[in-house]
């Protein structure tokens, strides 16, 4: 089925329970619509259909700019190499299907987050969150 990547480690989905006050959205959601759905929600899961679809990161960023402090999860086709970008855009964790996890073992994800602090944007502007709230 799927696995959660948390702090670079693989964790079974069951071991990272999320609040029932959650919504799952597609990356091309209309943002005004999203804001309407956000009432009382503490977890937003954003589906990522392809590594070339960068909208999920902008949606996450938008939510953080709007003051959303809840849990953000990127779910779907996220590559280990994109993991730092996803975290730096405001996501807390990532959910990937088992077949992707098989091709991209845990070591790759752990390796990817090694240098996450070392980026230009956190030096230049603080409007880009460097890591989503844990």
């Amino acid at each position: 089925m799927s696995i959660i990547v948390k702090n670079g480690r693989f964790v079974p989905t069951g071991e990272v329970p999320l609040s029932k006050r959650q919504i799952t959205i597609a990356s091309d959601i209309d943002l005004s619509e999203l804001l309407r759905q956000l009432d009382g929600i503490s977890t937003v899961i954003i589906k990522i259909s392809s590594p070339t679809d960068g909208r999920g990161n902008s949606v996450a960023r938008f939510l953080r700019l709007q003051g959303f402090n809840g849990h953000l999860r990127a779910s779907g086709y996220v590559l280990a190499d994109q993991y730092p970008l996803v975290l730096r855009s405001g996501f807390n964790d990532v959910e990937i299907p088992d077949n992707l996890a098989a091709r991209q073992p845990e070591a790759q994800w752990l390796n990817a987050v090694q240098h996450i602090e070392h980026n230009y944007q956190s030096r230049l502007i603080s409007a880009v969150p460097s890591i989503g709230a844990a």
Binding site: L31, P51, T52, D53, G54, R55, N57, S58, V59, R61, F62, L65, Q66, L79, D81, Q82, P84, L85, V86, L87, R88, S89, R103, Q104, P105, Q108, N111, H115, H118, N119, Y120, Q121, R123, L124, I125, S126, A127, V128
Partner: protein, 555 residues
């Protein structure tokens, strides 16, 4: 120029290791080719007709002797002994092997260079006026801003998977040599009525299949608002740019389809949201960047030898008339090195030539070299007293062609000889044109004329903004070349007008000759340039010259 500090150095080294890992994962199957593709593109590696092509970033075109010598070494060690300078101030190597690329990136990192984000759907190399910091007509040097934008855009987490590529250019002069109006974002450095520095922000320009002249998004953006404003533009584009059709995915289409006013409202609203949580880069950081772009010490040097030499040597005089531009210091000149030798491939330089330019720059050029979008190299600071020696040295390497701005100073894309996208060859056409007008000894008589050739509708040769533009297509299996006229790549950007049906490769040169002859007949005197005649008389007389039978029928 900008020198890497510890942070920059660590960043590129890490990036090289990251890419080495990605190549390994491609080879062992952890990554499919489809998954590897966006990752390799983020590091400037294309797969082309015959081989991989590596596009190395030259931020705002700035090089020094050390960097240029390293590029020469790379060309010798891992390629075929030459490199190609592009229309976005980058350099390309056409023949690297995949397994060598991590080592090439490492060699680049050794001299503070990289190939990060030179391709892919991300923010590309930030380009700037190639005369920056030297031009007599400059209001302000755009390079510190270009460097700030480069840092901000490098590995920006939100903008690595945009709908399409994104190109930014900056100019600090009213004479726009950076083609800002043909960029996704063009920035013109200006002052408001209170004398405060800021930018005119232009959006949605671009050439390619659907050329658009950029529109003014903001008349005046204060310097301090630059980064959050760019964030806002990219954020809106990333969310709303089309992802269903690669040929409609640039921001110019978003602006065209949604309307400038609507997009402006969204950007300004997003900007308001971002500015709340924004804090500017520290003064230290900004000042730290500016420090690298101070004008070198330009000692006063006598110009009498220069004038004497020009008076006694016609070839050198000719060189000064085309290849030397006005420097803000009257004792100095900006020397343009033509990479368009008669009959050569526009923009190509051998490793030996690179080393020669490095030597010249070190000895006479305050160790500064620029790559221009016109595919030439520039020595921005040369004392006039030294220009004769520079000229002699350049001559030894075939780099003293006195044709800057003339008909043989052609911008041409690689075309069908190299590129999988091409529909026609462009390089042989450029070579023929160059040879012919040299043979006829007409170049100087013709005067300033910007001729640009693209080998397909993607317009990488910028033909839309050539005074004469040539577009090579495929018509029923044969190469067919259309001519456009009246294009302009400057602050008065204009898209060229198509004259009519295309010509075969054999017909093209005689037709161009007719076109040139009609210009020479029509001009008031020898000071009226081709583009001036075109603007005075319009396309009609030129159409007549190209299609005389058609005109007869119509009469």
């Amino acid at each position: 120029m900008y020198i890497y500090n510890e942070f920059d150095e660590a960043f590129v080294r890490n990036r090289v290791e990251q890419f080495r890992g990605q190549v390994g994962k491609r080879i062992d199957g952890s990554l499919t080719e489809d998954e590897f593709k966006p990752l390799r593109l983020m590091n400037g590696l294309y797969l082309q007709l015959h081989a991989y092509m590596l596009r190395v970033a030259i931020p705002y075109g700035s090089l020094d002797a050390t960097k240029l010598r390293q590029l020469a070494m790379i060309a010798d060690r891992w390629d075929k002994g030459y490199g190609h300078f592009t229309t976005r101030q980058n350099i390309q190597f056409n023949w690297p092997k995949l397994q060598d690329v991590p080592d090439i990136l490492s060699a680049l990192a050794d001299v503070g260079m990289h190939a990060i984000q030179t391709s892919g759907n991300t923010i590309r190399n930030v380009t700037a006026d190639h005369f920056a910091g030297a031009a007599a007509d400059e209001i302000e040097d755009p390079r510190p801003i270009a460097e700030l934008i480069r840092q901000w855009s490098t590995d920006h987490p939100e903008f690595q998977a945009l709908p399409r590529k994104f190109k930014v250019a900056v100019t600090g002069s009213m004479n726009d040599r950076a083609v800002t109006k043909a960029h996704d974002i063009g920035l013109r450095m200006v002052r408001n009525s209170a004398g405060e520095p800021g930018f005119e922000v232009i959006i949605g320009g671009g050439l390619g299949r659907s050329p658009f002249v950029g529109k003014v998004l903001r008349d005046f953006l204060p310097n301090s608002d630059l980064l959050p404003y760019l964030e806002a533009i990219l954020h809106v584009y990333n969310l709303s740019g089309r992802r269903d059709n690669k040929y409609k995915a640039r921001i110019k289409f978003l602006v065209h389809e949604a309307g400038l006013d609507r997009i402006r409202k969204r950007i300004e609203k997003t900007f308001e949201l971002m500015i709340v949580s924004y804090s500017s880069p520290s003064e230290d950081l900004v000042e730290g960047i500016r420090r690298y772009f101070k004008t070198p010490d330009l000692t006063i040097r006598n110009t009498s030898q220069y004038l004497k030499y020009a008076a006694s040597n016609p070839a050198f005089l000719s060189f000064t008339e085309t290849n030397v531009s006005d420097h803000k210091n009257a004792n100095y000149g900006i020397v343009s090195i033509s990479l368009k030798p008669i009959g050569g491939t526009p923009g190509d330089v051998t490793s030996d030539q690179m080393r020669l330019v490095a030597d010249v720059a070190e000895r006479y050029g305050h160790n500064e070299i620029r790559a221009s979008h016109e595919q030439n190299l520039i020595l921005p600071h040369v004392a006039k007293a030294d220009i004769p020696a520079v000229y002699q040295m350049l001559k030894t390497g075939g780099l003293a062609t006195a044709n800057i701005g003339l008909i043989s100073d052609i911008i041409a894309c690689p075309g069908m000889d190299y590129c999988a996208l091409a529909t026609a060859r462009s390089i042989p056409i450029a070579q023929e044109i160059s040879c012919r007008f040299d043979e006829l000894k007409m170049e100087h008589e013709i005067g300033p004329l910007k001729l640009k050739i693209s080998g397909c509708i993607n317009a990488c040769g910028h033909h839309h903004v050539g005074h004469i533009g040539i577009l090579g297509l495929d018509r029923a299996g044969a190469e067919n070349y259309q001519i456009t006229l009246g294009g302009d790549s400057t602050e008065t950007m204009t898209l060229g007008e198509r004259t009519g049906p295309g010509f075969s490769a054999e017909e093209l040169l005689p037709k161009l000759e007719q076109l040139i002859h009609s210009y020479l007949d029509l001009r008031i005197d020898e000071t009226e340039t081709f583009i001036e005649v075109y603007r005075r008389l319009g396309i009609a007389p030129f159409k007549q010259a190209l299609y005389p039978d058609h005109q007869k029928k119509a009469a």
